[in-house]
């Protein structure tokens, strides 16, 4: 079969190892770790404070990881208002897939700061979320592409694209947690 040329992703490189970039690496890692812990603890109100009010949170579908929410079907395309509504829903006891809440543990690794442009910082990370509920365990595995901005001295997330490596949500049935 004449298949299209295999697509190789563009290479990603981190910053040169200067004292400044080490501090930034630490700051970015701490932000992502903190997000993971807040989500594992279901502390959703505080989780929202990690984001800027013009933030966007996107999860593409499993069959189209390069999907563009402007023209393709994605799983999640939230602005800050819908992120807030998502937390309201998850706290309501009427989001039935998450009531009672699942137990989750997020593992963030391979954090690499990929670009710094003034106050804008871009990073990428590997993520695995173990979710346990109703006798089932299912991992969500993938990658975060995150854009951050400094607001009043604090690093905040202004864009998170969470890309699943799964071929389909086979054991999961849904993406009922915040990935």
């Amino acid at each position: 079969m004449a298949t299209p040329t295999v697509q190789v992703s563009p290479s990603v490189s981190g910053l040169p190892a200067t004292a400044e970039s080490l501090l930034l690496q630490h700051e970015v890692e701490q932000l992502l770790y903190r997000e993971a812990r807040l989500l594992d603890d279901w502390n959703l109100d505080e989780w929202l404070t990690l984001y800027t009010e013009d933030a966007r949170y996107v999860v593409p579908t499993t069959d189209l990881p390069e999907g563009n929410p402007e023209s393709d079907l994605v799983f999640i395309d939230d602005d800050y208002a819908r992120m807030t509504a998502r937390t309201v829903r998850l706290k309501s006891r009427h989001a039935h897939r998450e009531y009672p809440w699942s137990r989750t543990r997020r593992f963030i690794s391979n954090v690499m700061v990929t670009a710094v442009d003034g106050d804008e910082i871009e990073a990428t990370a590997s993520v695995a979320v173990w979710r346990f509920r109703a006798g089932e365990s299912s991992p969500y595995v993938g990658r975060y592409d995150v854009k951050m901005r400094r607001v009043n001295g604090q690093l905040r997330i202004c864009h998170k694209r969470a890309i699943l490596d799964l071929e389909e949500l086979s054991d999961h049935g849904a993406l009922s947690i915040i990935f």
Partner: protein
């Protein structure tokens, strides 16, 4: 218990019940494979997924690996995805464009019409070797307004006869744009660990919407103002469409991308949406156009296809993989020439409710799995589907689900099928359904 007694259908008692063993037993599932999935027309894909010569898509239908492709002359072909030589999968990527399909095992090559066009060392076969016998094999297939179906029974009726009253509802989707409707890239693929018939029921169950999806209605009320709808002010209609297909049609509560403006879409979209609506009225006539714009439809085409024309137009198909699990795939549709701004609104509208990350679909998944767990508790033999038996069917009654189960019962028990439209007759003009010679059309009540 006899297979023919799994559906208890007694209008005289106001009772309609389904025996829960029908959703638990492997023997029933095996019968369903033989008597339903090997006999009925099953949705495969949409022609817009293969717009150009050489385009192909592979898919699994009723546990069978298939693929469809457009050949050099632009004709559609559907093939069993297995090499006629020794069996390996021919098409091993989900979609793409190819001039030749080559089996990787022994390098036999087929063109996009499925003809065997090359094999290494052909001299190794004798003078009686007939290449035409070793072309790719096709199941029976046909398409209706772009929706492609396959059927593994060569004796079965034609697709359009099979669709019966559902064809009119496919028209209401396909005719929404002069440019035709296309499938948007990106699909929802997930597994539900529940019997597949629960999703058929759920997909046209108006009764569950308000209690199960409370957070969605709260969100929309909060987002756009207004009240959360209550069960008593819902207008709507449930219909049996023949051959087990069914639909619920309701007045839209919120906006519809086809052309019903709503504050959620933003003031700046008003003119554009009104323009689309005017075009529709001019092309389709006022009655049909307003029905397309202002009513929502949730339709099940027996056995496993759902066409939702609600806050988005969706195709959802579910492939059973056992008595207690199914693989679900869902796509969104849009007009072929939709503007960037309308497409953006359409995609956003889908995500409010639908999909594994939406504000409602995960609740349905949970509900179905919850039922499946509940069944195993035992103690209760039957599920009840008698709602609305005594009155003209509303959108939150269960006539359309009874119609599904009646068809299921007649197929799985190999009984003659007797259509029963209940009181759905006469509310709209009932589409003509051509009965098979040995069957009669009856409408009691």
């Amino acid at each position: 218990m006899e297979i023919s007694e799994l559906v208890y259908d007694r209008p005289d008692q106001g009772k309609f019940r389904v025996h829960r063993s029908s959703m638990l037993l492997p023997e029933i599932y095996e019968l369903e494979r033989q008597r339903i999935f090997d006999k009925c027309w099953l949705y495969l894909g949409h022609e817009s997924e293969v717009p150009n010569p050489g385009d192909y898509v592979r898919r699994v239908v009723a546990e069978r690996a298939l693929f469809f492709a457009r050949n050099r002359d632009g004709e559609l072909g559907v093939f069993h995805n297995t090499c006629p030589h020794r069996g390996a999968l021919i098409c091993r990527t989900d979609h793409g464009n190819a001039q030749v399909f080559q089996c990787f095992y022994h390098a036999w090559s087929f063109n996009t019409s499925g003809e065997l066009i090359g094999l290494p060392d052909a001299e190794g076969y004798g003078p009686d070797f007939d290449r035409a016998e070793l072309n790719l094999r096709s199941p029976r297939f046909d398409s209706y307004k772009g929706f492609i179906f396959v059927c593994f029974d060569h004796e079965a009726e034609s697709l359009v006869d099979y669709l019966a009253g559902a064809a009119e509802y496919l028209d209401l989707v396909a005719d929404q744009s002069p440019a035709g409707m296309k499938v948007i890239p990106g699909s929802n693929r997930y597994t539900i660990k529940a019997n597949w018939k629960l999703l058929a029921e759920n997909s046209m169950d108006g009764y569950h919407a308000l209690p199960t999806h409370k957070t969605y209605f709260d969100y929309m009320a909060n987002e756009v103002g207004g009240n959360v709808p209550s069960i008593s002010n819902r207008k709507g209609l449930g219909r049996a469409l023949g051959n087990g297909h069914g639909v619920v049609e309701n007045d839209a509560i919120y906006g519809r991308p086809v052309a019903m403006w709503h504050p959620y879409f933003g003031e700046e979209s008003r003119q554009e949406i009104d323009r689309i609506k005017d075009e529709l009225i001019g092309r389709q006539g006022r009655d049909k156009a307003l029905r397309m714009c202002e009513k929502t439809r949730n339709m099940v085409i027996f056995p496993n296809l759902v066409i939702n024309d609600i806050m988005a137009v969706t195709i959802r198909v579910f492939q059973p993989t056992g008595p207690d699990s199914m693989d679900v795939t869902a796509w969104e549709m849009a007009p072929g020439d939709e503007t960037t701004s309308m497409l953006r609104r359409r995609l956003d509208s889908f995500l409010t409710f639908l999909g594994p990350g939406g504000f409602a679909t995960p609740d349905d998944t949970e509900a179905l799995e919850s039922c499946q767990h509940g069944f195993r508790s035992g103690g209760v033999e039957w599920s009840d589907l008698s709602r609305g038996f005594h009155r003209d069917p509303r959108g939150d009654d269960e006539l359309q689900m009874r119609s599904f189960w009646r068809r299921w019962q007649s197929l799985v028990a190999d009984l003659p099928h007797v259509e029963n439209f209940e009181r759905g007759l006469g509310l709209y003009e009932q589409p003509e359904v051509t009965p098979s010679p040995e069957l009669s059309v009856a409408a009691d009540n």
